[in-house]
């Protein structure tokens, strides 16, 4: 007979592997399909009313709050995170003693569970600074949470910019600062964007860190000093009340679609980066 004998161990390994793949992705598919099939038909116009009341259960205020929090947190953490990454990758010289400390603290920050951020925010922003349960407290907490993420992704993006770019810029007489802003950062932009999109995903999905800092009030547009719940917190509150299961499913559908869009965007940017690195 031609070929190998059938190896039982290999057959078992292959079966186990295929089984694991099927279970893993069937779980994901089932989750998405379950929520979509139970929620899509309850997506009624009332759920998108500009104001929330206990009859319409509108998620519009929560969506607006989420957008505001995303923008404000990024405005705080974006420049700081990018600046820190520029320092680590462009300015710090080898042997700089600040660098390992910054890296260690950023690593530590990214390992802190979100409920601990929530508790910290409640102690620091809500009570310590007297900002009370408010959008401002929520934004402050979120900004610290996403800072290490932006730092890390930006640093990786900066590292992938070839040194020739910098040398070329210096050779043409540009200074350090001009090189960073006109050459290195634009070249690293897709990577920076990928990090920002990851951060947006983290903010949109966050709940534990927000309930005790930004509160669970369902209205929007009351400003930085008022409590405001995001879409994820809104879903948690609805689900916790357990009174309006159909509307809860519908809210979950919207949140899931937002996450799908964010993922598709980050995927597209990832592919763009891949294409570029294979060309250059």
């Amino acid at each position: 007979m031609r070929g190998r004998r059938i190896d039982v161990a290999s057959l078992l390994l292959r079966t186990a592997m295929l089984l694991a793949v099927v279970i893993t992705f069937a779980g994901l598919l089932f989750l998405v399909a379950h929520i979509m099939s139970h929620g899509l038909r309850y997506l009624k116009p009332g759920l998108f009313n500009w104001t929330y009341d206990s009859d319409n259960l509108s998620m519009m205020p929560a969506i607006i709050n989420t957008l505001e929090m995303v923008v404000l947190s990024l405005l705080l953490a974006g420049p700081v995170g990018v600046g820190a990454a520029v320092y680590l990758n462009e300015y710090a010289k080898p042997g700089n003693r600040l660098v390992p400390i910054v890296r260690l603290t950023a690593e530590t920050l990214s390992g802190i569970p979100s409920i601990v951020y929530g508790l910290f925010g409640a102690l620091f922003f809500v009570k310590g600074l007297g900002w009370r349960l408010s959008m401002a407290s929520g934004v402050g907490t979120l900004a610290i949470m996403i800072l290490p993420l932006i730092m890390r992704t930006t640093e990786e993006a900066l590292k992938s910019v070839p040194d020739d770019y910098r040398q070329g810029s210096y050779g043409l007489g540009a200074g350090k600062l001009r090189t960073v802003f006109s050459i290195v950062l634009p070249a690293a932009m897709p990577g920076v964007m990928a990090g920002i999109i990851l951060a947006i995903g983290r903010i949109v999905g966050e709940s534990a860190a927000l309930i005790f800092t930004a509160g669970t009030v369902a209205q929007a547009g009351a400003g930085l000093g008022s409590p405001a719940r995001t879409l994820a917190v809104h879903l948690y509150v609805l689900s916790n009340e357990g009174l309006h299961i159909n509307e809860t499913y519908a809210t979950a559908v919207v949140l899931l679609i937002v996450v799908l869009l964010i993922n598709a965007l980050s995927d597209a940017i990832g592919r763009m980066l891949m294409r570029r690195s294979s060309h250059g």
């Binding site: 592997m17 379950h34 800072l147």
Partner: protein, 275 residues
């Protein structure tokens, strides 16, 4: 300008310092008043009677984390091996974004899914209330999959092709080569993925609250309700005052220490990975 960039780099140092100071300044007095050993080994949590024993929650966190690993580690590693060595390119283009999506789905959605699907399933098929260690473990197992798959896959891909090819040349099958040559070579990276999963499971809050039952007692069996450290904080911080508040902050200090250990382990393991 360098000074401005240096200042932004120092923000993360300041943040961690403020977080530590606030947690310790608010937690240490409570720890001193309750007594560290009472806090860590006390089996009764009755804030209204002034009894603060965290052991049920520590055990609870360990149980659900262990349960999540039992579910997530075999599935995750087997899937990672498939993705790294066996998956056809076309299928990979579908499955890889699927893993990213798993990582991106918010915990409240996982929690809601657990509440409307896993809880009733456990209740009808296995008995009990449906809220408990098993349900939380199944849900967390699902939630840590993307961390394990992602990090393990990168670790497996970082193993030089010649290992795999050498093994094939010696007459081993593809499966045997992948599992007995490539997998051991990637072990520190895979372990980093598992530790990252542990961190995610211990730190998860809202999803666990929604399906675990949250009774502050050491669970009798896998169908009994359980409360984790994270749930303990989230359930009570809204109304806690004085020593009760301090005890919850002490809970966060315990969690913070867990998180720190996980982080150091991941960093250590990643440094041992071939890059």
């Amino acid at each position: 300008m360098q000074i401005v960039f240096a200042a932004t780099a120092c923000v993360s140092i300041a943040a961690i310092a403020v977080i530590c100071v606030f947690l310790l300044a608010n937690g240490l007095p409570a720890i001193r008043e309750i007594g560290l050993s009472n806090l860590l080994t006390g089996t009764v949590w009755k804030p209204l009677s002034g009894i603060y024993g965290l052991l049920p929650m520590i055990v609870g966190s360990l149980y659900v984390t262990a349960g999540a690993l039992v579910v997530g580690v075999p599935l995750g590693i087997l899937t990672a091996v498939y993705l790294a060595r066996f998956c056809p390119a076309r299928l990979y283009a579908v499955l890889k974004p699927g893993v990213d999506l798993m990582a991106g789905i918010p915990s409240v959605i996982y929690g809601f899914f657990g509440l409307v699907v896993i809880v009733p399933w456990v209740r009808t098929n296995l008995g009990g209330q449906g809220f408990g260690v098993l349900t939380a473990s199944l849900l967390l197992g699902m939630m840590i999959l993307p961390s394990i798959i992602d990090v393990s896959e990168s670790a497996l891909r970082a193993v030089p092709d010649r290992y795999f090819e050498g093994s094939l040349a010696l007459g081993a099958t593809k499966e045997r080569s992948a599992f007995s040559v490539v997998l051991p070579a990637a072990r520190s990276g895979i372990l980093a993925g598992v530790v990252l999963g542990i961190g995610r499971a211990i730190g998860e809050t809202m999803a666990v609250i929604m399906v675990a039952g949250n009774q502050p007692v050491i669970p009798a069996d896998i169908l009994s309700g359980v409360r984790t450290l994270t749930a303990n904080i989230a359930l009570e911080i809204g109304y806690a005052t004085d020593l009760h508040r301090g005890a919850l902050i002490a809970t966060a200090v315990v969690l913070f220490v867990f998180g720190l250990l996980v982080d150091l382990a991941v960093a250590g393991l990643k440094r041992r990975m071939p890059s």
